[in-house]
């Protein structure tokens, strides 16, 4: 029996190895932390166009596994990936700071506004999402819905607001941006008030949206794509772009970067050129992700305002990245995470 088992195991090992993909010249490896449903079609088009095989690793939602940024850091001494596509800035900025990214200024980046590009070329932004207030249309009238995130501290909404864990994902970007914009004192104050208003802190942005859709809470903070998925699913939710006339709407670009010492750097650069093209911005705008193009003149999603029509919240990305650890710890104390 033992010899049998050993034989089976050996055979299986050989079989496994035989099916392992061989590395070839015409391929590129990308780590993608943009949702798979949105990014996979974009990459498939590139494969069909160029014949280059795109081998992708997709990320899980940030609250469910430790994810690709950690993998890139762990692989830093012997990189396996060529390109990193992040759907929010914080991860990219941490990777830049830790020396896991390389500089590359793509000719395709020309039309993208300079606030969304790293002057040193470690990352380039494209198609953006916004952080929005989502509310349940059966429980809250449109006229009543808050216009600013500061309205969420109003006692009228006590126990009726949900946010995702601010230590992770796009919410971590949002809080980093708020601390950069408001300064520590006012930002601390805002979160203290939110806490006093019994804010519900849940594992992810999709959970915020689901709780609002089910009416467990009346409103919450989440991302545009999350809300749109629910709207297309005919759930009773709507969104407000907050603070368009105040501190500005938090705009969250995708960020594309070349990995430091990428094994297929040239192939990586070509893929980056493609991902920064107007064509990709158009595809992401037309998809369920409803991402707004950063370039002027590219047709945006139907039900979303164009970037030029509101005041975006701008920030010094590098400064915000330096503060991630400190902000995380402050929030742990204030919100009792």
């Amino acid at each position: 029996m033992k010899t049998h088992a050993a034989l089976i195991a050996t055979l299986a090992l050989v079989a496994l190895n035989a099916c392992a993909p061989a590395t070839s010249m015409d391929e590129v490896v990308i780590y993608v932390s943009q949702d798979r449903v949105f990014s996979e079609p974009v990459l498939l088009v590139y494969e069909q166009k160029t014949g280059v095989r795109v081998r992708a690793v997709y990320d899980t939602e940030e609250t469910k596994s430790t994810g690709l940024a950690n993998r890139l850091l762990a692989e830093k001494n012997n990189p396996q990936a060529d390109v990193f596509w992040s759907n929010e800035p914080v991860r990219t900025l941490v990777l830049k700071e830790r020396g896991a990214l390389a500089q590359y200024i793509s000719p395709q980046a020309e039309g993208i506004p300079s606030v969304f590009k790293d002057p040193q070329g470690y990352w380039t932004g494209f198609s953006a999402r916004m952080r929005v207030i989502v509310y349940n249309t059966r429980l809250v009238k449109e006229t009543e819905a808050p216009r600013s995130i500061f309205d969420l501290t109003d006692s009228k909404w006590k126990g009726q607001v949900a946010i995702a864990d601010p230590r992770f994902g796009s919410t971590s970007f949002h809080v980093a941006a708020l601390y950069a914009e408001l300064g520590d004192e006012r930002a601390d104050e805002f979160f203290r008030k939110l806490k006093a208003n019994d804010v519900k802190i849940v594992p992810g942005n999709s959970v915020v949206r689901d709780m609002v859709a089910r009416g467990e809470v009346k409103m919450g903070l989440t991302d545009t794509d999350d809300v749109n998925v629910a709207i297309e699913d005919h759930q009773p939710v709507a969104m407000v772009l907050p603070d368009g006339d105040g501190i500005g709407v938090p705009v969250m670009p995708n960020m594309i970067s070349l990995v430091a010492r990428a094994p297929r750097a040239e192939a990586g650069k070509r893929l980056i050129d493609y991902l920064l093209s107007a064509e990709v911005e158009r595809m992401l705008a037309a998809s369920e992700a409803v991402q707004i193009p950063l370039r002027a003149g590219v047709e945006g999603p139907k039900h979303m305002p164009a970037l030029s029509s509101f005041k975006p919240m701008t920030m010094d990305y590098d400064k915000a990245a330096d503060r991630v650890e400190d902000v995380t710890k402050r929030l742990q104390t204030i919100l009792g995470l």
């Binding site: 029996m1 033992k2 010899t3 088992a5 050993a6 089976i8 195991a9 299986a12 090992l13 496994l16 190895n17 099916c19 392992a20 993909p21 490896v29 949702d35 798979r36 449903v37 949105f38 081998r55 992708a56 690793v57 997709y58 899980t60 939602e61 940030e62 609250t63 469910k64 596994s65 430790t66 994810g67 950690n70 993998r71 850091l73 762990a74 692989e75 001494n77 012997n78 396996q80 941490v94 830790r98 230590r167 992770f168 802190i201 849940v202 594992p203 999709s206 689901d210 089910r214 467990e216 794509d225 999350d226 998925v229 629910a230 699913d233 991630v324 650890e325 995380t328 742990q332 995470l337």
Partner: protein, 520 residues
């Protein structure tokens, strides 16, 4: 030599990644040796809460799961129930469903639109949904089958002649309490320890239900702060808790394990009240199997969602099946040799047990990052790292300890005198092992294989970090899809994963059933 090889594999696959990460945790920001990550453990008040939460979660889960599982196991062994084989398989289902999915079902049950509120008109679950109590309930439902299987096997191992003798002077209930259970107790306690360690190292459920414990803290250190050293240091109290549990269990059980005998397979004269037993089993089935599945199905809503989810997962399912099959087989094989070696040890046996328990408690993420550090190096190692073999290695890192623990218990039930008889007759060690020891450990080997397979099939923490491009396993595939999906689709994906495991379990039951008939 085989034993040496198995020991070497344990050290390379299971121990090295953990030691590698411990090394990382001892390096400060400036690259020099530093204990800073560990000072923090004592400096922060928060650490004490985490410690208490982790301890409470693991202890309460271990007790509740055993309280549910052990009686069910005894009933399966000693009550006159119809279709026992089918009942057993049905009652194992919660173990086969990933705890995270159980947690989702639990969330869907609560809320004023949940299944409980709809059935009873009152929403009395919601206050508990996101709480330590909730996490204990979910994990207990997930892990009670382990206690059930251990209790049933142990009760079946009790020599029928002892019960027969006792029945002459005592009522069945008294015989159960005074003869059957005390003899079965060490095996049940061993299962309780296993459940303790599983609950301690579980991340998905406390994460989902927002219970801060060490696993979620380790996760935060990785995911929010990208600090490998701090994350590993935070895993150390977790390993210490596992070690403490192991020592406590050793104190209570010691080397006392029942010695099964061939004669013990006789039909037991003890027969518990079958009406009450039937009622208990029915309630268990309704609460722990039907209710969670119904909650998921209700949330899924439309059947086509399931079909869509299944269709998109075919490749990942085949990948997971192959890898989990090979992984479970190798883990059982290596675990068999290790477990046997440990069972025949006179010195250091306790230390080996504790090493296995601690290795098993190491968080998947720590192992995953450790594996990258060890295997992602230019040359042959890199070739392995780039292939699916690295997923297999991740499985083995997680599974060898648990397979070895189960099989050490199994090997100790084989009397050394049988082997001595074989050796006296002139057979070589390999022959004695293959012809005498292994056949007697058959039940243990099957149990170790099934548990390894189920755990491998659901493994996420380590595999998601090392899976090569395009080689996602089913859990990794599902988690990448869950990110943005509406809750109905999430429920459909969760059901899909459960359905795959349940189908396998059913196939396995048919296979074992056939085999047994052939043997008799």
């Amino acid at each position: 030599m085989a034993l040496g090889l198995a020991a070497l594999l344990f050290i390379v696959l299971c121990a090295l990644p953990v030691f590698y990460m411990l090394g990382v945790s001892l390096v400060g920001a400036d690259g020099a040796f530093s204990l800073n990550h560990y000072f923090r453990l004592f400096a922060e008040v928060r650490q004490l809460d985490l410690f208490l939460n982790s301890l409470l979660l693991a202890t309460a889960t271990s007790l509740l799961a055993t309280a549910i599982g052990a009686p069910l196991g005894v009933l399966l062994a000693r009550a006159d129930l119809p279709a026992k084989r089918a009942l057993r398989i049905l009652l194992i289902i919660p173990l086969a469903v990933p705890p995270y999915v159980m947690g989702l079902a639990w969330i869907y049950m609560g809320s004023d639109s949940g299944i409980i509120a709809q059935a009873t008109g009152r929403d009395f679950l919601s206050p508990l949904t996101y709480s330590l109590t909730g996490a204990v309930i979910v994990l207990s439902v997930s892990f009670y089958p382990l206690a059930m299987l251990a209790a049933e096997a142990a009760a079946r191992g009790v020599d029928a002649r002892m019960e027969e003798a006792a029945l002459l002077v005592a009522a069945p209930r008294r015989v159960l309490w005074r003869i059957t259970l005390p003899i079965a107790a060490p095996s049940i306690a061993a299962a309780a320890l296993l459940i303790f360690v599983l609950a301690l190292s579980e991340f998905g459920v406390p994460g989902l239900l927002r219970v801060p414990v060490f696993t979620t803290e380790v996760f935060t250190a990785f995911s929010a702060l990208y600090d490998f050293g701090a994350a590993t240091a935070l895993a150390v109290p977790l390993l210490a808790l596992a070690l403490m549990a192991g020592i406590t269990a050793r104190f209570m059980i010691g080397e006392r394990l029942l010695v099964g005998r061939r004669g013990a397979r006789n039909r037991s004269p003890l027969s518990l009240n079958s009406r009450r037993a039937g009622l208990a089993v029915t309630i268990a089935l309704a609460l722990f199997v039907l209710l969670p599945i119904a909650a998921l199905a209700l949330e899924t809503g439309r059947a086509e969602r399931m079909i869509l989810a299944l269709r998109s997962s075919v490749e990942a399912i085949t990948n997971s099946l192959t890898l989990a099959f090979v992984g479970a087989t190798m883990a059982a094989l290596i675990g068999l040799l290790l477990g046997y070696a440990r069972a025949r040890m006179h010195r250091f046996a306790g230390t080996v047990d504790l090493a296995m328990i601690v290795a098993f408690a190491a968080p998947g993420t720590v192992i995953g990052v450790g594996l990258i550090g060890l295997w992602n190096r230019p040359g042959l190692m890199e070739e392995i790292y780039r292939s699916r073999l690295i997923i297999l290695i991740a499985y083995l890192a997680r599974l060898i300890p648990v397979a070895a623990l189960i099989l050490a218990a199994g090997a100790r039930q084989v009397p050394a005198s049988f082997e001595e008889a074989g050796e006296v007759a002139g057979a070589k060690w390999t022959r004695v092992f293959a012809r005498i020891t292994v056949p007697q450990m058959r039940a243990g080997i099957i149990a170790a294989w099934v548990v390894s397979f189920i755990l491998a099939f659901g493994e996420l923490g380590a595999t998601v970090l090392v899976a090569p491009p395009g080689q996602a396993t089913l859990p990794a595939h599902i988690y990448t899809l869950i990110a943005n999906a509406p809750s109905g689709e999430v429920a459909a994906l969760a059901l899909t994963q459960s359905a795959v495991v349940m189908t396998l379990l059913a196939l396995f039951a048919v296979f074992v059933f056939r085999e047994k008939r052939l043997h008799s």
